[in-house]
């Protein structure tokens, strides 16, 4: 089992539904967010191209956050989901410093919080909240170990990129070009 997400940047309109769905589903404190959207404009006027990236924890294969955590509160759960055990977290901030994607934040209660791939939904066979509400169906969630899953087929047939691959974290959120 290797959970991953693919996001089609050609379909994404940057509406922010994924962000609101996540905040609602996961009771994210006001002012915080586990996912966010970035607008990228490339080119020189008048030849400009724009696309959106819905960003979140990349649930990396090589996780600097888990490596630097001094207590083991950050761990890799089944299916490669990177999670934080709140009662083991001392709030030292090492994982926040270690993450090149700024995907982690201090919850107002002190512990570190982040995207969980909505594992409580995934366990029931549902998609993460962000994926399930997307109005343009630009997000795909699935198992990379299964060659017949929709995401495996997409990643085989389409061109894609990942964020900051040079940081060496082997991110598992793929952006379809």
């Amino acid at each position: 089992m290797r959970y991953a997400m693919a996001i089609d940047v050609n379909k994404c309109v940057g509406c922010g539904d994924c962000v609101v769905a996540c905040q609602t589903e996961n009771n994210v404190p006001i002012g915080y967010s586990r996912d966010w959207i970035i607008e990228i404009t490339k080119g020189k006027y008048p030849d400009l191209m724009m696309h959106f990236e819905s960003q979140r924890c990349n649930h990396c294969e090589d996780t600097p956050c888990v490596r630097t955590c001094p207590t083991g509160a950050s761990f890799i759960d089944e299916g490669g989901i990177v999670k934080v055990e709140h009662d083991e977290c001392i709030g030292c901030g090492a994982c926040i410093e270690a993450c090149p994607y700024d995907a982690r934040y201090f919850h107002p209660d002190g512990y570190v919080d982040k995207c969980t791939f909505c594992d409580h939904r995934v366990k029931e066979g549902l998609d993460p909240a962000c994926v399930s509400v997307c109005p343009t169906y630009c997000m795909y969630f699935g198992d990379l170990d299964d060659p017949d899953s929709e995401i495996s087929k997409l990643l085989n047939s389409r061109e894609w990129y990942t964020l900051i691959p040079e940081a060496g974290t082997k991110p598992q959120i793929f952006y379809l070009k």
Binding site: G14, G16, V19, G31, Y32, S33, W36, I37, I38, E39, I40, T41, K42, G43, K44, F52, Q55, P64, R67, T68, C69, P70, T71, G72, A73, D87, E88, C89, I90, G91, C92, G93, A94, I96, E97, A98, C99, P100, Y101, D102, Y105, F106, D109, G110, Y111, V112, I164, E166, A167, G168
Partner: protein, 331 residues
């Protein structure tokens, strides 16, 4: 041209415009850890070289301060935690890949040994204080003696430590080197911050820590020979530091784009004046010159170069903690 903007709100103060999770408490702690490591390194090294009586301040007196320094450092670390009540979770596990876990365990071990070390010298310490007319601490030394004479367990611990002092000196020497290196490796483990993520940082922090240790001894010792020796050692350490700094900046400049940007923080960027004038100029070069002049026979109060080195070491940690967090990959 490429422009990247936030489409949805992400107004988290410690993440944007750049990560700012660690501040002065961590920088101060890194300084104190290095200082304690330096003092203990000299104490154990000169004890093992048999200089116990030639260099009484280095071996017997200076380690008294390390326990206090480490406790202040530990308090700062706990103060900086966001989930403070769970701090004990550090000691339920040992994470071999996490420098912070190494540090937590090392700190506990070092603080225990650095308390036992001066306790085992309590007679010499009292004599040293009385020779200098200091009787204000008599209550404390008397209390420690009572503890040693009247209580079985403290007596056993102190006597064992005294009996096997050479063995414990080797352990403490090893631990002090780990403590000195770890403060640098702690930062270099974060590859999300290119300025920190360079292998020179460990040796550089160790050298700087040992240098502040020698400055501390030089400052407070009244033994001329000890001062002269520490001053010579400090000059050598400053020379090594300068070499490592040049090495670090050259290494960053030869790296990928974000590493070049990290070097640029010191080469025309925000921290240029802090780094070259306050740290390199006033914290390394100036004390080096003052120490050299003193060795040549000019009269220079030893407190002056010593304080410059100590302040320089602190500024260096502040610069590295703040500048390192500004050195990031683009979002």
């Amino acid at each position: 041209m490429e422009e990247r903007l936030f489409q949805t709100t992400r107004d988290i103060e410690f993440l944007y415009p750049h990560v700012h999770v660690w501040g002065w408490p961590i920088a101060t702690y890194l300084f104190l850890g290095g200082l304690a490591a330096g003092i203990l390194l000299f104490a154990t090294l000169y004890y093992l070289k048999g200089k116990e009586d030639d260099m009484p301040f280095t071996v017997k007196i200076a380690p008294i301060f390390t326990f206090i320094i480490i406790v202040i450092g530990l308090l700062l670390l706990v103060y900086d935690l966001h989930h403070k009540l769970y701090v004990w979770q550090l000691f339920t596990t040992f994470r071999i890949k996490s420098p912070m876990s190494w540090g937590a365990w090392t700190l506990v071990a070092v603080s225990i040994f650095s308390l036992l070390w001066p306790l085992s010298y309590i007679d010499d310490i009292e004599k040293y204080l009385h020779e200098r007319g200091w009787r204000r601490l008599d209550n404390i030394t008397k209390f420690i003696r009572d503890l040693e004479h009247n209580w079985v367990i403290p007596r056993f611990i102190i006597l064992t430590f005294r009996k096997y002092r050479t063995f414990f000196a080797y352990i403490l020497l090893f631990l002090s080197i780990i403590l000195g290196i770890y403060t640098g490796i702690l930062l270099s483990a974060f590859n999300a911050h290119p300025l920190w993520n360079n292998p020179i940082l460990g040796p550089l922090f160790l050298t700087s820590g040992v240098s502040t240790g020698s400055a501390f001894v030089m400052w407070l010792s009244n033994n001329k020979k000890e001062r002269k020796l520490m001053s010579t050692i400090d000059m050598a350490l400053i020379a090594i530091e300068l070499f490592l700094i040049i090495h670090m900046i050259m290494g960053l400049q030869a790296g990928p784009e974000v590493y070049k940007q990290a070097a640029n923080l010191f080469l025309g960027g925000e921290f240029t004046v802090w780094f070259w004038v306050l740290f390199v100029g006033m914290g390394l070069v100036l004390p080096f010159i003052l120490e050299a002049l003193e060795l040549k026979g000019y009269h220079i109060p030893p407190a002056l170069p010593a304080l410059l080195v100590l302040i320089g070491g602190f500024i260096f940690r502040m610069i590295m903690v703040y500048a390192g967090q500004m050195s990031e990959y683009p979002f």
